[in-house]
């Protein structure tokens, strides 16, 4: 096993373990903190895949904004709501089956893909991954249309949020 594989296994176990803790932890704030650990694990996996830009953006967006927002929302709920009640409801086994089936389906589908068992090679020295990504997102032959559609969607969400929160006099 190479050093990279060992790191991957450790990170994968930590990520999955934290993800399990998110849904089983008795305290909602702890769940949110475990979610941070899960998201950080995903960021490390991006870094292992030579996607440094995605790794950093994962931390900025998911930990810096979304997880903090979660923690805010949880902290503003009442204490009784936080600690009472069961973590699992009667449909937990259904959720578990769906999770296993999804994993199995994805696994089976990816097995027929030629790149499934390939070992990743190092990028050539001086390879400008960020520049390539930027070009792909802004050239008409690349992904400029999906990128713009996603931007418009986010803008619409922003306008909607402002409209809902706006206090009419």
């Amino acid at each position: 096993m190479t050093a990279q594989q060992i790191i991957f296994l450790i990170v994968a176990v930590v990520t999955l373990g934290s993800a399990l803790m998110v849904v089983t932890s008795r305290n909602l704030v702890h769940s949110a903190l475990w979610l941070v650990s899960t998201l950080f694990g995903v960021a490390i996996i991006y870094a292992l895949l030579n996607a440094g830009f995605l790794a950093v953006v994962q931390v900025v967006v998911y930990i810096g904004a979304i997880a903090i927002l979660f923690i805010f929302a949880v902290m503003l709920t009442r204490k009784e709501q936080l600690e009472s009640g069961q973590r699992l409801n009667s449909g937990w086994w259904l959720g578990a089956i769906i999770a296993v089936l999804t994993f199995g389906g994805l696994f089976g589908m990816l097995q027929s893909w030629s790149g499934f068992s390939k070992v990743s090679t190092d990028l050539p020295v001086g390879f400008d991954a960020v520049g390539q990504l930027g070009n792909a997102l802004t050239t008409p032959t690349g992904f400029v249309l999906p990128f713009e559609v996603a931007s418009v969607l986010l803008l619409a969400a922003l306008v909607g949020a402002v409209y809902l929160a706006f206090n009419r006099k």
């Binding site: 702890h30 440094g52 950093v56 900025v60 903090i68």
Partner: protein, 397 residues
């Protein structure tokens, strides 16, 4: 190539050679040497941090017309060591009802979020941890971890003052991140890279000449990110006692405090790297990497001094004023500046260095002037609204 030109690589190669000579696999030796390098950097930073305590206390006492620590050792230099011993032997208290694990992780995470920033800081052309091609975004990512540490400390302390302090600090950090990101993109436009070393190498003209307004907005956003006066609402002694770190005692408080001081120096360093040419100083950096380190640290100290200067001479701003200042003034201004800079960069591409620099400088001055005029007109308007009924009431008398 000898030791004095590339000390880090020579030392690492020498050490790897010895380790592999002992029969260690090359991969393991590489990991061990990288680990030792990290350990060395962190140790040096922590030792420097001890003297930052002394420095900060000396500078604040000068601003307040005092002498500062001067009893222990020459110029009071041994004072921080006495302080550390005091912090270490203090009782380590945990408040009742605190979330013990989260409470203990928070100070470590706070210190860590500062230390990891130094992984990308180029101390000299060849002395740097890693030249990340997304270096500027990395600063923001590390800041996100710092925010997380503060909210963890505030929540786990089981103290209302701490929670309110954490809320305020997070509100400040999340909002001032936006102008900061916009200002980080300005050196990116000029240098066409987000890597720290690339930005420094591209600064034949320091970027504070090309974008003085950008440097100023970056400084303001950095001070807010640091949670220092005039943006130190998270501590707000007069209302919150001590804010998010109120329940911490001994060395756990020391971690927050030391982290804050090192954070201030670090952002002084980033100001130097992004707008003042980092380790470059009229070609002196080419003489020796060690001279380059001295130049960089001197520039970082000047940035740190400006941050201290602002801290000890400005009054605290109220939270709503501060958020309004960010969302209604700084954010639109930084977006306009970013767009104009990108546009000017495209328009002036291919012109001579002189035309390019003067054009950039003048566009900055123009934007600053227009922004100030708009603010002045707005405040005059507001003042008239408040004063008009007063005048009418007096006339009625």
């Amino acid at each position: 190539m000898n030791f004095w030109n590339d000390p880090l690589k020579i030392a690492a190669d020498w050490l790897t050679g010895i380790l592999t000579g002992w029969g260690m696999p090359a991969v393991a030796a590489g990991i061990l040497v990288a680990f030792l390098g990290t350990l060395l950097l962190i140790s040096l930073l922590m030792v420097m941090d001890i003297f930052l305590v002394w420095l900060e206390r000396k500078v604040v006492s000068r601003f307040q017309d005092r002498i500062g620590p001067n009893r222990v050792g020459p110029f009071g230099l041994i004072q921080p060591f006495a302080d550390i011993i005091k912090l270490l032997i203090k009782e380590d208290t945990t408040p009742e009802g605190a979330d013990r694990v989260v409470y203990n992780i928070a100070p470590m995470l706070s210190m860590m979020s500062v230390l990891i920033l130094w992984a990308i800081v180029p101390l000299a052309p060849v002395i740097l941890g890693v030249d990340l091609n997304v270096g500027l975004l990395y600063i923001i990512a590390a800041g996100a971890i710092g925010t997380l540490a503060i909210i963890m400390a505030g929540w786990s302390s089981n103290n209302k003052f701490a929670t309110i302090g954490a809320f305020r600090q997070v509100a400040v950090m999340v909002s001032f991140e936006i102008p900061m990101v916009a200002m980080l993109l300005i050196p990116t436009i000029f240098a066409k890279t987000m890597g720290m070393n690339g930005i420094i190498q591209a600064q034949n003209i320091p970027y504070f000449i090309l974008s003085p307004l950008g440097a100023l907005i970056f400084l303001v956003a950095a001070i807010a990110e640091l949670g220092r006066a005039p943006f130190d609402l998270s501590e707000g002694e007069s209302e919150l006692v001590s804010g998010f770190n109120i329940e911490y005692s001994g060395m756990k408080f020391g971690m927050f405090y030391a982290g804050e001081l090192l954070h201030a120096l670090t952002f002084g360093g980033f100001l130097a790297i992004l707008f003042f040419g980092g380790y470059r100083f009229f070609g002196l950096e080419k003489v020796s990497p060690f001279l380059a380190i001295v130049i960089f640290l001197a520039k970082a100290m000047v940035g740190y001094w400006v941050i201290m200067w602002v801290r000890y001479t400005m009054m605290r701003i109220r939270i709503d004023h501060m958020l309004a200042f960010n969302w209604k003034f700084l954010t639109p201004l930084s977006f306009v500046l970013l767009m104009v800079t990108a546009l000017m960069n495209a328009l002036l591409a291919g012109t001579s260095v002189w035309v390019y620099s003067i054009g950039m400088f003048l566009s900055n001055v123009l934007i600053a002037w227009i922004a100030l005029e708009i603010v002045r007109a707005y405040s005059r308007n507001e003042r008239e609204k408040v004063e008009a009924p007063k005048v009418a009431a007096e006339a009625h008398h």
